[in-house]
């Protein structure tokens, strides 16, 4: 059944473009929404027998090298959820039927690409689907064709091409060492005698490629410009799930599944994670454009995830994976709210916006929920994942990094609270007297994401037992 997750979007795109334009355009949006909801439901049934029974005969002609485990299932669910949210935002924000149709098609290609990335069991297929997703994200950033978008996209393309080259070089070195590209074969071969110089170069080059894709410091040059200059639904998708999938998930998969942990890898991850966490938080404090502040905050949170992976223990990896999921949820919620504010007021500068809470109470409340989750305030979901990472760092003996993580938690709280106070509290200036609260359709993603944050926070013990601990045990070194 797993190949269906890639094939269905692919066939849908072909069908949508072959049928007559009038039918296709009206149907496209609804079809994409249905596909994302179906994927969210299908994640829970991936391993049941009836799934393979129904699709087995049809799919037996195909031989894909695909596997799903807990981490892939978590990613598949997040991908579908964020796509659903982004589609609803796009339906409200994008005017023009042809443009909405283009966006829906591109997001379906991105969906197929991301599904392939998280399910791939082969190092080169992983690379191919990373490229599919990245190229689609380039096109999505520029599909409105304004000049800021072009410039941001060009910088992103250059750095992403550099990451491509690094990854291909590392794949070539791995093939020299082991002769095959499948995860299990490579892992088995690497436990035997290999040339350690080539192996070390392969690991370093691979990690550099993933750091560029994930946007960690010092490879983050493309991230703020790309996030800020993209249109709102694209920002939701890009910040919420695309960077996480092609950068962070692939790093976790390759480090745990192929190379295994070693002191060198752990220390590299810890250092880069610590730099990203602190420097990005300091940079976020100084921003006047709130979308740019959210971009730097993304870098900082991804640093947390890398710190969790760098700890090397099952608890650390489980915490990192859970934080990945939480970050997708709360960052998307913040970007959805920012697009709502931008739609209503037409400005993104924190110097012009005050007191919006009086006119947009729902947006303000959900924004508070997301900010508190990001800062790690109990009992919201973000608190639990951060605590897991901090405890994992402490227990594995990296006391300095643990202190860095705690200190940055305070910084995170500081800049998010300043964002809240600036935009939502205070006195409403006259120029903004006419803004209205978001409509019912726009409110659906806001309420849904906020409910998930609160729900994951309150029902955490159940989630811990059924999802997090098995995940950590399966992946942990």
């Amino acid at each position: 059944m797993q190949p269906l997750l890639i094939l269905i979007p692919f066939i849908t795109i072909l069908l949508l473009n072959i049928l007559r334009p009038e039918i296709a355009r009206r149907a496209a949006f609804r079809v994409a929404l249905v596909i994302s909801v179906l994927q969210m439901i299908a994640v829970f049934f991936l391993h049941r027998s009836f799934a393979t029974m129904y699709s087995g005969p049809l799919l037996s002609v195909l031989q894909f090298n695909i596997t799903t485990d807990y981490l892939s299932a978590l990613m598949l669910f997040s991908i579908a959820l964020i796509l659903f949210v982004a589609l609803i935002v796009a339906g409200q924000v994008i005017k023009g039927r042809q443009e909405l149709f283009n966006f829906v098609n591109l997001s379906l290609i991105a969906l197929a690409g991301m599904n392939g990335t998280v399910m791939s069991h082969d190092i080169f297929s992983l690379y191919v689907f990373i490229e599919v997703t990245s190229v689609t994200s380039f096109i999505m950033i520029v599909f409105n064709q304004n000049i800021r978008a072009f410039e941001g996209a060009f910088k992103y393309i250059m750095l992403s091409a550099l990451a491509t080259i690094f990854m291909l070089t590392a794949i070539a070195l791995v093939v020299i060492l082991t002769g095959d590209t499948d995860f299990t074969v490579i892992k088995a071969a690497l436990s035997g005698p290999v040339n350690s110089g080539i192996l070390k170069s392969a690991i370093v080059i691979f990690l550099s490629g993933f750091f560029i894709k994930a946007g960690l410091i010092p490879f983050h040059g493309w991230l703020p410009d790309a996030y800020v200059s993209a249109p709102s639904p694209v920002s939701v998708l890009l910040a919420g799930i695309i960077t996480k999938t092609v950068g962070v998930y692939t790093l976790i998969r390759v480090v745990t599944g192929v190379f295994g942990f070693s002191p060198v890898i752990n220390n590299t991850l810890l250092f880069i994670g610590a730099f990203s966490v602190v420097l990005a938080a300091i940079a976020a404090l100084n921003q006047r454009d709130f979308k740019r502040m959210l971009a730097y905050s993304s870098i900082s949170q991804v640093g947390y995830i890398i710190l969790g992976v760098g700890a090397g223990t099952p608890l650390g990896i489980a915490g990192a994976a859970f934080h990945l999921f939480n970050h997708a949820i709360f960052k998307s919620l913040l970007f959805v709210n920012s697009s709502a504010v931008e739609e209503q007021t037409g400005s993104r500068s924190m110097d012009n916006l005050y007191g919006i809470a009086q006119k947009m109470p729902l947006t303000a409340t959900t924004s508070v929920v997301a900010s508190l989750s990001a800062a790690g305030v109990p009992p919201l979901a973000g608190f639990w994942s951060k605590i897991m990472i901090i405890v994992a760092l402490w227990m594995s003996g990296h006391y300095g990094f643990c202190l860095v993580a705690i200190f940055t938690g305070i910084l995170t709280l500081a800049y998010f609270l300043s964002l809240q106070r600036n935009i939502f509290s205070g006195k409403l200036p006259d120029s903004l007297k006419n803004i209205k609260e978001v409509g019912f359709v726009f409110a659906i993603p806001e309420v849904l994401l906020a409910a998930i944050i609160i729900g994951c926070g309150i029902f955490y013990p159940w989630i811990l037992k059924s999802l997090i601990l098995p995940l950590g045990a399966a992946l942990g070194g």
Binding site: F124, V128, E131, V135, F138, I139, V142, Q145, N146, I147, R148, F150, E151, A153, F154, I157, M158, A161, L162, T164, I165, L168, T169, I171, A172, L173, V175, I176, G179, D180, T181, N195, P224, D225, V228, R292
Partner: protein, 104 residues
């Protein structure tokens, strides 16, 4: 890893690294967007050479050729998309100078 294989690798590796450095030089020394893209292309050629050498050295030419064919397809689409972005920049600002692209 026998000594001959390592020597072979070293020889080809030097030339692949030279190509890579030429690509980086091309990107660093130019103010033109299209020439930056050409630099990226030269670097991708270097990596293709390394992949082919990997296939030659381990004897698995069939697998490597499949990988290289896929890589070439991806590279072609990447060039097409970047050319589109460059055309878009040119339509808006009329020049392809990286010094004129504002940093926010």
């Amino acid at each position: 890893m026998s000594r001959e294989v390592l020597n072979l690798l070293w020889m080809f590796g030097i030339f692949a690294s030279l190509l890579f450095i030429i690509g980086i030089y091309c990107i660093l020394a130019t103010y033109n967007l299209i020439r930056a893209l050409i630099g990226i292309e030269i670097m991708i050629k270097a990596v293709t050479l390394l992949l082919i050498v990997a296939g030659y050295v381990t004897g698995r030419t069939a697998l490597i050729q499949a990988l290289v064919i896929t890589t070439i397809v991806i590279e072609a689409v990447l060039v097409a998309v970047t050319a589109g972005v460059i055309l878009g920049i040119h339509r808006h600002t009329g020049s392809l100078d990286t010094r004129k692209m504002r940093d926010e």
